[in-house]
């Protein structure tokens, strides 16, 4: 039963992303063309909420479920991987309008065509795994 909480969080995530229309190709198009504040508003509100919440965890006001202080691992220093990988992901996001979360959400919502995107994403992930040691990070 310890997995039920993850299932419920996932359901909340799927509903919010669908009802906010962040899963919509049209909303991503609109965002990249600066034609609506909607997506920027969502990301900014999420980051502000997240920043405040994480600060509360960090100063120890809130402990996690196991009663441990929260310590999120810092990202490794670097530039090339973050930037080049980021640009490549952005090209895909701008083309098919789906980041990884929405890929799964849309398939659940019954958009079978997104299965083709998932197939591509799995192949892309696999290619990265094959090439990892040869890529600059």
């Amino acid at each position: 039963m310890k997995f039920i909480k993850y299932l419920l969080v996932g359901i909340l995530f799927g509903i919010v992303l669908t009802k906010s229309e962040a899963v919509s190709w049209y909303r991503i198009y609109e965002m990249f063309h600066f034609q609506s504040f909607h997506m920027f508003g969502i990301i900014m509100t999420a980051v502000v909420t997240g920043t405040i919440g994480l600060q509360l965890f960090k100063i120890g006001k809130v402990k996690n479920l196991d009663g441990q202080p929260v310590n999120l691992p810092a990202k490794e220093k670097g530039f090339t991987g973050y930037f080049v990988g980021g640009v490549l992901f952005g090209l895909g996001w701008g083309l098919v309008g789906t980041c990884p979360g929405p890929i799964f959400i849309l398939i659940g919502a019954g958009f079978w065509a997104v299965g083709v995107i998932l197939l591509g994403a799995l192949v892309g992930t696999y290619f990265y795994g094959l090439l990892k040691s040869k890529l600059p990070h």
């Binding site: 063309h33 965890f57 980021g86 992901f89 952005g90 979360g101 959400i105 591509g120």
Partner: protein, 189 residues
């Protein structure tokens, strides 16, 4: 009070997404959707040919459970939290409508995704299939190379004031702007 059947406002949606990230932190985990793609590759046997996929994927079952939940959430939202009588899903800026017409992409009219990408007819077009595959490929390769996607970098990383995440998010937008402004009109003309 707006109806929950319409488009949820950005401030409620953003707050809830931040909340999802914080709940996972509270459970002792971190929010990251693209990691699941790596896990799925491992389950499919990618570890035979690449060291990157040789890890204990069972430790990621919690995240696969989040994915399953997200799929159920997508189903609930489209089937029970959307009013089919009203075409009020995705009301776009009129400029976007004009641009969609010029690219011959159908306007939302109550839909989340264009028929131009998702209808049975579209899927029999090799060009559309190639676009979906290529887009997926870029999403899969790019997120792993960057070490995260919108959830891991834009939401979690920025909230945790991580410089690498800011670099990645700037990359996301540069890639998206190039695609949306320069390449999309070439692909769909």
């Amino acid at each position: 009070m707006e109806s929950i059947y319409g488009t949820w406002p950005w401030y409620i949606s953003g707050f809830l997404i931040g909340g999802v990230m914080l709940l996972l932190v509270y459970f002792g985990k971190t929010f990251g959707m693209s990691s699941n793609l790596r896990t799925m590759c491992s389950i499919l046997g990618a570890g035979k040919s690449a060291e990157f996929f040789r890890f204990d994927w069972k430790a990621q079952r919690w995240n696969l459970t989040v994915v399953l939940g997200a799929m159920i959430g997508g189903f609930i939202a489209t089937h029970y939290l959307t009013d089919p009588q009203k075409a009020d899903t995705v009301v776009l800026n009129p400029h976007a409508i004009t641009e969609l017409h010029s690219m011959k992409i159908d306007v939302p009219d109550g839909k989340l995704l264009p028929d131009a990408f998702t209808s049975a007819e579209a899927l029999s077009d090799p060009k559309v299939l190639a676009v979906l595959l290529l887009g997926g490929l870029l999403v899969g390769f790019g997120t792993r190379y960057a070490g995260g996607c919108t959830s891991g970098h834009a939401i979690t990383g920025l909230s945790n004031l991580q410089l690498p995440s800011l670099i990645a998010v700037i990359g996301f937008f540069i890639g998206g702007l190039i695609m949306s402004w320069l390449l999309l009109p070439l692909i769909f003309n």
